[in-house]
Amino acid sequence: MDIFFDILSYIVNNFILGLTIVIFSSYLILALISAIALRNYLRKNSFVDYNNIILAPVTPSISVIAPAYNEEKSIVDNIRALLALYYNNFEVTVVNDGSTDNTFKTVIEAFDMERVNYFFDYRIPCERIRGVYKSRNRSFKKLTFIDKVNGGKADALNAGINISKNQLICSIDVDSIMEPDALLKLVKPFMEEGDKKVIGTGGVIRIANSCQIENGQIKRIHLPEKFLPRVQVLEYTRAFLMARMAWGKLNGLLLISGALGMFDKETVVKCGGYSTSTVGEDMELVVRMRRYMAEQKQKYEVIYIPDPLVWTEVPSTLKVLGRQRNRWTRGTMETLFKHKVLFMNPKYGIFGMLGYTYWLLFEWLAPVIEFLGLIYFTLLVIFDEPNWYFFLLLFVFVYTFAVSLSTWALLFEELTYHKYEKRRDVLKLFITALIEPIFYHPLTVYWAVRGNIDYMRGVRSWGKMDRVGFQRSKGKI
């Protein structure tokens, strides 16, 4: 029996070490691809005049769909900001998903809206639409307000798609703040469509905590004051500038964030719209669309734009952040299991062979393996003598690599968009990067494990997401 455990521990040791090396190598490769893609994008962008799109008579039409649930405090400012977006051919559809507060009344009064005789088809199944409202004031001609029975975010988006009239749909979180030129940047890849059909585009999400906000727009950018939002700035920078950029380049991107994404409406409708049976509807839609296109043997692309296009408030308490990460894990698992046919399937190209496999091994399984590794190490300390020198070496290796990766993400940000003006902010973020692997990372592993357990227990709820809100802190959130 002892020999068996010796061999087992030998295998486990080498497996964990091997996996760590593979994960870190993949991070390095992705960072390298991102750096090249980012440089090319910025060079190409220096030749682009987005004003050409504003003035052009041949631009694709866009329907911006914003689901709203209990958003009475900020909805008016946010709708005004949406209506002020730079584009000449778009409509804004706000979907009140059965809010229990005064969202409905607030919008009706603020925009002088009345019910219209809107005739439409439930092309994508969704909860009953109680009414469609338009403004009496012609200044708000672009705005359509839908009131429906509560069915969740995915269901509200489906309702918006049913009502929308345009070629492209742009789904956004109504509580997020879009950059005024976001639509121009998102639509451009659709206009550049070559032999491959562009089915979706997504951009970078930035963190709005502590930023100064006026009339639903970012007036001054500040680094979050609290540790938790600040550490998420690092996380987001790493994820968006170092990973997604590379996956976009490899055409293996699985996720366009629900906070902002633009899709070809025809493909979305053919795929059946957003899935209401998952808590990760944004990822599930992209995976389903890609799968559909591959099965139809159509050449396609999902494009990722490194420009910061939308600002959002991230959780600032452990409790809410834990709920969010738990939900993300469950959403990932639901999507991965629902589309398990993709796993290492050459029929789906890089998306199946690399993209899906990466998410399965590194996004879903890595935290679980990390947790099991921690338990294994604890048992080793109790029942056997671990190789402390080697453990220390491994710890330093993992720690320095993680901090180094974060510092490179900071440099990527600094050389590209440098949104944080003060030099002190860079130093603050670096200090956060030094602390993150010790204090924050174990928590993310814990939340991911909890997500796995909850998934197996059949938990399907979103979890309450309390937000501080734009209004409460008078200009700052």
């Binding site: 190409k44 041949v58 439409f120 088809d121 032999d195």
Partner: protein
């Protein structure tokens, strides 16, 4: 109650002690003589097992596992020669593969040397790159701010100088030497060229020519030409742009070569330069293009045509192109520039193999309000795709011909698709009094969902 509690505690203690003893492999109570003999036998068996497995691992070069077995065997029989001999051998083998510096001066990791060396190298690399990245991030900010300040200063200087030059009656040598002095390095010259390009957009006629002369006088055309011939695409594209704006056709061959480049930006800049520099055959490239002519390229060419008021290419001829994207571009331009004389060729496109082109042709005929196409549209309705049927109804609505009322009523009556019904009703609504009367009659009808459709169509807030 108290007695029961004591009993329970006693049982729990026994279970706990047994469990811990089992794990720690300790005897629960002192052994008798017979039991001692059994223990000796057990130790002997254990020792043999360790040696056998140790040898197996040793022969497989699994040194870490072998070492563990021999160390355990040595613990069982501390004086035995063989395990000690093997421990020395294994340690030696591990040390041979280890980094000597690491094993001698730092720690003895008891792991393969290449692994330890690799880990240490990664740690050193991580720390170094971390320091470099942080320093670059901090220094970059300073450099950027300095460059931005310098740029602003130069822009203001150049602007004043150029305006003075343009409105001066004669060329002042002092001015030339001053501007030459300021633009003595690459960075400064680049700013000057950018400034001249910005200015050239707003100028026409004599002033524009004067600016070009200054550009040549300062030898900036050589900078632009050098850039146009660069091997880096982004520098080359910049060179093309500069030459195009300043109207200098020196890099003709290179520009034409790049008209079919795989790099979309380079291709677009070459197209733009061709249109600007060679007005006689500026749109020739459209006939040669094999790749898809993207909407983005089309949009930029349209902007160039309108901004510089250039002559339009022969779109009637381009409608016959074998490249579908060129046909789409031509149709779009025909609509924008209202070129109704291309009607006959457009009519031929209604039987084109591409549904997208047929759709665009229908759309353009509707937008140009060409009545003559109505019989043809009516004829193809039955055989067309869903999207094209919708477009046909929209075109009929735009053309607004009362003779189509019967057809539209038929569509409204026979079609079950909501969107087709709405479009047909909207087309009827546009047919003046006759159309309104028809819709009002339908409003009172209980047949199908006419009431809802007509209410939707008549609601001015929706449409």
């Amino acid at each position: 109650m108290n007695k029961r509690f004591i009993q329970l505690r006693f049982i729990l203690n026994i279970v706990l002690i047994t469990f811990i003893s089992l794990i720690a492999n300790l005897p629960v109570y002192p052994a008798s003589e017979k039991e001692s003999a059994e223990l000796v036998l057990q130790r002997e068996r254990d020792y043999e097992k360790r040696i056998i497995w140790g040898e197996r691992f040793f022969s497989l070069h699994l040194d870490a596992l072998a070492l563990k077995q021999f160390e355990r065997a040595n613990k069982i029989k501390p004086g035995a020669y063989f395990p000690q001999y093997r421990i020395k051998q294994v340690t030696l083998r591990l040390n041979q593969s280890q980094n000597r510096f690491v094993s001698e001066f730092i720690f003895d990791f008891n792991k393969p040397g290449f692994l330890i060396t690799a880990l240490i190298l990664v740690i050193v690399f991580s720390i170094t790159s971390m320091v470099i990245a942080l320093a670059t991030a901090l220094i970059n900010r300073n450099n950027m701010m300095r460059a931005e300040k310098r740029k602003q200063y130069l822009l203001e200087e150049y602007q004043t100088m150029l305006v003075n030059y343009l409105f001066a009656t004669e060329i002042n040598q002092e001015f030339i030497s001053k501007i030459k002095k300021i633009s003595n390095n690459k960075f400064n010259r680049r700013i000057l060229i950018d400034q001249m390009i910005d200015l050239s957009i707003t100028l026409t006629g004599e002033e524009k020519e004067k600016l070009k002369n200054l550009y040549l006088l300062l030898g900036l055309d050589k900078d632009s030409y050098k850039r146009a011939m660069s091997r880096k695409w982004h520098i080359k594209a910049k060179g093309f742009r500069e030459l195009a704006f300043m109207n200098i056709p020196s890099a003709n061959k290179e520009i034409r070569r790049c008209l079919t480049s795989r790099n979309d930006i380079l291709r677009m800049e070459a197209q733009f330069a061709t249109i600007r520099l060679y007005p006689d055959n500026s749109f020739e490239f459209l006939e040669q293009l094999k790749k898809r002519y993207t909407l983005w390229e089309q949009l930029n060419v349209y902007e160039t045509i309108t901004f510089h008021q250039l002559n339009l290419p022969d779109f009637d001829h381009l409608l016959k192109s074998t490249n579908d994207s060129i046909v789409m571009f031509s149709l779009r331009m025909i609509r924008i520039f209202q070129l109704r004389n291309t009607f006959n060729t457009m009519l031929e496109l209604l039987s084109h193999k591409s549904a997208e082109i047929r759709n665009q042709a229908i759309h353009v005929m509707g937008a140009l309000k060409i009545n003559d196409c109505l019989p043809q549209l009516k004829r193809i309705y039955k055989t067309e795709t869903y999207e094209n049927c919708l477009e046909i109804i929209k075109a009929i609505a735009s053309i607004n011909d009362e003779s189509m009322l019967g057809f539209l009523k038929l569509v409204l009556d026979k079609e079950d698709d909501v969107q087709l019904q709405i479009e047909a009703a909207m087309a009827i609504n546009k047919l003046g009094i006759k159309g309104s009367d028809t819709l009002n009659k339908l409003l009172t009808s209980d047949y199908k969902n006419y009431q809802i459709i007509v209410k939707h169509v008549l609601d001015k807030r929706i449409n």
